[in-house]
């Protein structure tokens, strides 16, 4: 309807016309129904909606949105292609810079990145009114996949060089693709029995269907990347052995942040307290939500508390609902404004019935006979901004209150996994255990690169991808120099 109205207007549309087009809401499963199933919540734009939304873009010459994108997708160009009804062209533009558009279109915090800079949003005085760049990116990527239009990138002739990529999450997938394209042999190592990293064990099906991740992994294999699951680099093989014994010319470490933080409060080791990593891995990777078929159990708690305010906390809370919890209480010590979660996830969580308690924090977890029975919280208030710019959360003394709870999920982030550090001599890490690298991803060891959460601490899919692209470029450059010099020109 809106499309017909737009076509009736004198062309080309004026900026005033464009600003008057209503932001297209993405269709979603009805909130109460979806809280009972694992299928994807949002359904994606129709062809017409995508064109209407694309027409909202003002095609700003300075393209402020691009500055907000960690991998600098040429946003106005791909949106113009969509407006012209050419999704094939749109996805080709996106793929010049992004390797995982179907993933990023779904999980990027766009309101803090590209959409935060959008002129339309600024003109309409709300970031919620910005052009829905993420939804358009998703539309283009889904169009490509569902139309069988995905063609694996062209691979350069074999160079005889071999690269090990450690970890098959967003950083690893990116490096594997970019390095393979340059003609190097690539082996992608994964510790779990399935590849995909956080995209598979962490982000739930209802937010990122596994078939989408699988399509990306299939594409890698079509390019000739070898995926080796059940291989813990550091334990099954040390990094240095990959180079000295197994003939790899370079190693990229993208093993993720991976060690869950706990609150360090009383009662945290009671039965019924989970890290979000464990809870989500049980449900996602191990498919515990399928109680009939899965052998991995997951608690069927009626009253669940989730501690934290990030995307992982929202994922855990919404998973708990889908596993049959009658009450899910999400406890966050600041306010909704400071929540690191994507606005859409917070909104979806609330619609589905998650009860969000702000300005509260857990003081201790109560138990009987070793099992969780409740949680004692303290009320907080906001003080002055801290070093991160977020307002400090301050305890209100003597404000304790208790909630009866059967399970607690701790979702307050991850610290660095010590496994690689423990098993790799000479690899420099900082005080938090993150691998130290330069801008290109070089570590303190020759021919060893790193990127993603193991370098950044807990970050996002797109930042990991950006890091991966830079490291892959550095690896390709190093290997090309070695080849043209005829001798290994080892980086030191």
């Amino acid at each position: 309807m809106e499309w017909a109205r737009l076509q009736a207007l004198p062309q080309p549309l004026t900026p005033r016309d464009r600003l008057a087009i209503p932001c297209q809401e993405m269709p979603a499963q009805e909130s109460l129904a979806r809280a009972q199933n694992m299928q994807e919540v949002t359904l994606g734009y129709s062809d017409e909606q995508a064109r209407v939304e694309a027409e909202r873009c003002l095609q700003c010459r300075n393209a402020p949105c691009v500055q907000g994108c960690p991998v600098r997708i040429q946003i106005p160009q791909f949106i113009a292609a969509l407006a012209a009804g050419n999704p094939a062209r749109a996805i080709a533009i996106i793929r010049e810079t992004s390797l995982l558009p179907a993933v990023c279109g779904r999980v990027c915090p766009q309101e803090m990145q590209c959409q935060a800079h959008c002129t339309v949003g600024k003109s309409l005085k709300s970031v919620d009114q910005a052009v829905a760049i993420g939804r358009l990116e998703r539309y283009a990527a889904d169009w490509e996949r569902t139309h069988g239009a995905v063609s694996p990138p062209v691979v350069a002739p074999a160079t005889g060089k071999k690269v090990a990529v450690v970890g098959s999450g967003p950083a690893g997938i990116t490096v594997a693709a970019d390095v393979r394209r340059a003609g190097h042999e690539v082996v992608l190592f994964e510790a779990f029995h399935k590849a995909g990293g956080v995209l598979v064990y962490g982000i739930p099906e209802f937010r990122l269907p596994k078939t989408i991740v699988q399509a990306e992994l299939d594409a890698l294999q079509q390019m000739g990347v070898t995926i080796r699951t059940n291989f813990v680099v550091g334990r099954t093989r040390k990094i240095t052995d990959l180079i000295t014994k197994d003939g790899f010319d370079a190693v990229f470490v993208g093993s993720g942040a991976g060690l869950p933080k706990f609150m360090e409060i009383e009662g945290e080791n009671l039965v019924g307290v989970y890290s979000a990593n464990e809870y989500l891995t049980r449900s996602n990777l191990m498919k515990a939500y399928d109680r009939e078929r899965a052998e991995t159990p997951i608690p069927s708690a009626r009253r669940v508390a989730v501690l934290g305010g990030g995307n992982v906390a929202m994922d855990a809370a919404r998973t708990a609902l889908r596993l049959g919890a009658q009450e899910v209480h999400l406890i966050y010590r600041r306010t909704e404004v400071e929540m690191p979660a994507r606005a859409e996830e917070v909104r979806h969580a609330k619609e589905e019935g998650v009860r969000i308690h702000v300005l509260q924090n857990a003081k201790r977890i109560l138990g009987a006979n070793g099992h969780v029975t409740g949680i004692e919280c303290l009320r907080h208030e906001l003080g002055d901004p801290d070093s991160s710019g977020r307002r400090r959360s301050m305890v209100i003394p003597d404000s304790e209150f208790q909630l009866p709870i059967e399970a607690v999920i701790v979702a307050i982030g991850n610290q660095s996994n010590p496994l690689i550090k423990q098993t790799t001599e000479g690899l420099d890490v900082d005080q938090w255990g993150r691998i130290v690298t330069d801008q290109q991803g070089h570590t303190s060891l020759p021919n060893v690169f790193a990127g993603g959460d193991i370098v950044l601490g807990t970050a996002t899919v797109i930042l990991a991808m950006g890091e991966g692209r830079r490291a892959a470029a550095a690896i390709n450059e190093m290997l090309q120099q070695e080849n043209s010099a005829g001798v290994p020109a080892r980086h030191s």
Partner: protein, 285 residues
Amino acid sequence: MNQILFKEQLSPDVYRLRVRAPLIAEERQPGQFVILQLDTEYGERIPLTIADADTEEGSITLIVQAVGKSTILLGQMPVGGRIANLVGPLGRPTHIEKVGRVVCVGGGIGVAPLYPIAQGMKKAGNHLTVVIGARTKDLMILEQEMRALADEVLICTDDGTYGHHGLVTAPLKELCAGAPKPDLVVAIGPPLMMKFCAETTKPYGVPTVVSLNSIMIDGTGMCGGCRVTVGGKTKFVCVDGPEFDGHQVDFDQLIQRLGSYRKQETIAADGCHLHTEAKKKGLVE
């Protein structure tokens, strides 16, 4: 990879398997474990300690007690069968050095992971005493292997059908009270046994290492399901252990956490036992 090369029943519920895993065989050290899964889509991941390895054959030895669904199914797999997923070696290796007199105490299936540690301790030049305990004579495993290795082997059964009548803590206490007293005790077995071993050695000030086998999913530090309180601090068995100072471990908490899924596990194992029985009687496929 992962084919079962050899299988032997050691006692009514205990099987010894040699599994093809050349990389794990090459890298494994005493004290380390593997995680295996029998079905990629719906199987559970279970940790099992590596009892031995043969680098020439490219195999590792697992000793499995058929107590849960996956271990029951594993015990039923034929030679030539392939384990869908096998990953390792995981965990930090045992710290092995010459300390003088070492007492290795194994209870039940715990004798299996103890074996490579005892091997290492002997090889390092220690005087080695091995104490093996089992509920009854038929459940005793690896006795001959331990006798071939150790300077002294002491046997205990709960029901007195073999060796000393009683628990492993009785000979352990005598060893600690004797002269020269042990310089190190390594105790591996059911959590309750390890708890009482640690309590036995504590008054004598004998350093005591225990190896914990807790609930875990990934085995690389990611899930935190294996956490246990050691010396008042939370530790992850998979990346900080599996071995810890037995005098510092909160065993009561460990035992409670191990029981987290007792109900679900019992239902699954019962279903599996029923199926096995039904199969024997030709009632199902």
